[in-house]
């Protein structure tokens, strides 16, 4: 194993209300592949963003090739030889492969762009990497796998000495992953250091040399891949006591009726043959890592995205849900993970958002009964303790927690019996979180049923009566709260692919 090329020491970074990185250390050597692992929100991405100058660190030192550095932006990092290959492809579909590779640093002939030279250079680059891609091809005509290769080629073309792969395999097929690994092994031989962020345990075992684990913004430790087991890694990732009084057993009676039954739901790659049941008065937690297909399942169920197949039963009756309207009429309400985009109409008032899903109850002939609207909105502002001067306030002016309450009020006004909470407390401060939890408990006590999608282990263990775990678009397990442990859930969520 080669010399150390990059050392990050005591990196500290805080955002308002969050201590994202707490004195984290990291060490990368020439010609190695270092896995960086951790749960959602452990701080992996933040650390890499600090490294490449997207975020400014509060304290700590970065030593690169023996010198202390601090990059102001990704461009500076790139010039120094540190490049990120992103999970989402940052390619411009209309341009050719070569144009994409050299965007922002085109070869010029006078004032004219020298396309021929760009194509030649791209060709040389691909030959070096043993990839078969035509530089003249339009980017959008390539498969996702080939596009990923282009990303890597682009990174290499910067004369990179350190390449960071941020979940590079998320969108790739088995054979494409194999091809990518071939390139990574080649790069290793050229003494290039690589950081590999992934949740896929089997890949980690195959391609990486060492594993550094992070948890809750802290450095936990580093293992030699060859000498450790999957369980070792998971224990390091989880290794924390849940102190926020997790539920020990389900509050739902065994004979509670099934209000919602989903059978063999299919919708693209992210939702494959998902089946589950939801009982009256139950909170059903959906756990899994980022990109496990939980939100996609909820959206397909709600009719927000088209589904390929699958049956849905409400209270034992088969129903057809082709669009959100159908779902709402079936008594389902959906609280999106992205409130600003999908939950609230920001330019409208609290009252108007509250009644958005149930206009029918507020009509006097063809006119909206604004007095009644205000009355109901007032009622929910009080019941949910929403902090707003009055119900005529535009919701854009409310805090995240209070916006979430307005969305909840919308579905309560509609009298929805089944509520899907997608990351209900994301971006909400601790105090407001507890209020939302209390509210959810109250709702199920009143006989509503809740599907709660959450990436926070504590939240899952604290709120759920039962837990469905998903991984790569498939349901990988279902646990009663009494048998659920962090380790079991994490194991299901990172199940190795066959």
């Amino acid at each position: 194993m080669g010399d150390i090329i990059l050392t990050m020491k005591g990196i500290d970074k805080s955002f308002p209300g969050v201590h994202a990185l707490d004195h984290v250390d990291l060490e990368v050597r020439k010609g190695e592949v270092l896995a960086l692992m951790g749960e959602n929100g452990a701080g992996k991405s933040t650390l890499m963003k600090v490294l490449t100058g997207i975020y400014k660190k509060d304290s700590g030192t970065i030593t690169y090739e023996g010198k202390e550095v601090e990059f102001k932006n990704t461009r500076e990092a790139q010039d120094a030889g540190i490049v990120i290959v992103h999970q989402e492809l940052n390619m411009l579909g209309h341009l050719t492969v070569a144009q994409n590779l050299f965007i922002g640093r085109e070869f010029k002939k006078g004032i004219r762009i020298d396309d021929r030279k760009m194509n030649e250079e791209a060709q040389k680059l691909f030959e070096r990497l043993n990839v078969n891609i035509d530089p003249r091809e339009t980017m959008s005509n390539l498969t996702v796998g080939k596009q990923q290769m282009c990303e890597i080629a682009k990174a290499v073309s910067f004369d990179a000495k350190v390449i960071i792969f941020d979940e590079p395999s998320a969108a790739l097929t088995e054979s494409e992953i194999e091809e990518m690994f071939k390139i990574i092994r080649d790069l290793k031989k050229k003494d290039i250091a690589m950081v590999y962020i992934s949740h896929r345990m089997d890949e980690i075992k195959v391609i990486t040399d060492r594993v550094t684990v992070m948890r809750d913004g802290t450095y936990v430790g580093t293992l030699i891949t060859e000498k450790c087991t999957k369980e070792d890694i998971i224990n390091m990732m989880v290794g924390r006591v849940i102190y926020e009084d997790p539920k020990t057993e389900s509050a739902v009676p065994k004979d509670a009726p099934v209000v919602l039954k989903v059978e063999h739901l299919n919708a693209g790659r992210m939702v494959q043959d998902v089946s589950f049941e939801l009982h009256k008065g139950e909170i059903l937690g959906f756990s899994g890592l980022m990109g496990a297909g939980r939100t996609e399942t909820a959206r397909a169920l709600f009719g927000a995205d088209p589904k390929e197949s699958g049956d849905i039963y409400i209270n034992g009756n088969k129903v057809t849900i082709n669009n959100p309207q159908d779902a709402v009429n079936c008594g389902i309400g959906y609280l999106s993970e992205d409130r600003k985009r999908y939950g609230i109409v920001v330019q409208k008032t609290v009252a108007e958002n509250t009644t958005m899903a149930s206009m029918n109850d507020f009509m006097n002939g063809i006119f909206i009964n604004k007095n009644k609207e205000k009355e109901v909105a007032d009622k929910y502002v009080e019941a949910l303790a929403t902090k707003t001067p009055d119900v005529d306030q535009l919701v854009v002016n409310l805090s995240g927690g209070n916006q979430q309450k307005v969305v909840i009020a919308k579905w309560l006004t509609r009298n929805s019996d089944i509520l899907i909470f997608d990351e209900p407390t994301r971006g909400i401060d601790v105090g407001a979180k507890n209020e939302i939890y209390k509210l959810m408990n109250r709702l199920v006590a009143e006989g509503k049923s809740i599907i709660m999608i959450s990436s926070e282990m504590t939240e899952i263990l604290r709120m759920s009566d039962r837990i469905v775990v998903m991984c790569e678009g498939k349901k990988t397990g279902e646990l009663d709260i009494s048998e659920a442990k962090q380790e079991t859930i994490m194991n299901l969520a990172t199940r190795e692919i066959e």
Binding site: F302, A304, N323, P324, Q325, A327, V328, N329, Y334, S336, R341, Y342, G343, I344, V345, V346, Q347, K348, T349, A351, E352, M356, A357, M359, M363, I366, F367, I368, K370, N371, E373, K374, D392, K410, R414
Partner: protein, 323 residues
């Protein structure tokens, strides 16, 4: 109470536009003695009816974040078709008016289907119907100009809807009364009915509105239907005010209406706007069209000046928002 508050919030913009209107009237009156006369006042109103109607309608697509470019050539085309039936096919004037409005509504539905159901960009879809309507009228009417019956003839009574001449010869612009009635009705539609509520919501956040279980396709389409309906009514107003409808004209009329709505505070990116604002904004445009010739500004300068004033009016809004 709720209404009063909502009105209070928007009052700023509307008060500003009203201020501009008053300032323009004062300015033109000082600069041109002939401007400050009753006939000129009537003439400003005369020239405003068809633009007002177009603007009231197009406010709805604008609020959804779209646009309707087909209203200008549309209204000419609808008036041509209606007038052709009356003058050359001998149908009663009432039927002609009805046809004019209904064809407008039909094109509105067509636009709505293109935009809301088939997901074409509004600019593109309505640009195409703009071309279609430009050819439609002349195609159906043998390319002839059509003069609806004049006010003096028996069938010309419909012209009196907009301008009534009393026995003593006094001209009473009663059209403005109808405009005000329509402004009140459409304000009500926008603020107090589901259609208005959802159209505003679509303009503000279409996806969130859809996820609330709203039939967004239908309400999105409604916006274009309203626009088409009002373009049809604008066709009637145009036919009633002017002598001959010329085939192929009308391109550019929509810009007066859209300009008026934008000056009146309708956000070009959707979600925000009031009918009263649009109504007042239209008067800024119309005063300019009538006032600038009166103060002796020559043709080319009128256009330049109009452009500058529009920029100023919109800029005020942008600057205010940045603060």
């Amino acid at each position: 109470m709720a209404n009063k508050k909502a009105f209070g919030k928007l009052k700023g913009r509307e008060a500003m536009v009203l201020g501009i209107v008053i300032a323009m009237v004062v300015l033109f009156s000082i600069l041109s003695p002939t401007f400050r006369s009753y006939p000129t006042f009537v003439s400003v109103l005369d020239n405003s009816y068809y633009i007002t109607l177009m603007a009231l309608g197009v406010t709805f697509p604008l609020i959804t974040g779209g646009v309707d470019l087909s209203i200008g050539t549309g209204l000419v085309s609808y008036a041509l078709i209606g007038g052709y039936l009356v003058v050359h096919k001998g149908v009663p004037i009432g039927v002609g008016i009805l046809v004019c409005i209904l064809v407008g509504l039909l094109i509105g539905v067509f636009n709505g289907v293109l935009v809301a159901v088939m997901d074409l960009p509004p600019f593109l879809a309505t640009l195409c119907t703009c071309m279609i309507t430009r050819g439609l009228g002349p195609a159906l009417c043998s390319s002839m100009g059509v003069s609806w019956p004049s006010a003096l003839s028996e069938q010309g009574a419909f012209r009196k809807i907009f301008k009534f001449t009393s026995a003593s010869g006094t001209v009473i612009p009663i059209g403005i009364v109808f405009m005000i009635v329509l402004v009140v009705i459409m304000s009500f539609v926008l603020d107090h009915t589901r259609v208005g509520r959802y159209i505003l919501a679509i303009g503000s956040n279409k996806e969130a509105t859809r996820l609330a279980g709203v039939n967004v396709k239908f309400y999105h389409m409604m916006a274009y239907m309203i626009s088409g309906l009002f373009a049809g009514m604008a066709g009637v107003a145009y036919a009633a005010t002017y002598a001959t409808i010329y085939p192929g004209s009308g391109a550019g009329f929509e810009l007066d209406a859209i300009g008026g709505a934008i000056v009146g505070g309708v956000s070009a990116s959707g979600g925000v706007g009031t009918i009263l604002g649009t109504f007042l904004g239209v008067f800024v445009i119309c005063l300019m069209k009538v006032g600038l010739p009166f103060i002796g500004l020559q043709a080319n300068w009128q256009q330049i000046f109009t452009g500058i004033v529009l920029i100023a009016a919109v800029l005020v809004d942008v600057v205010k928002k940045k603060k």
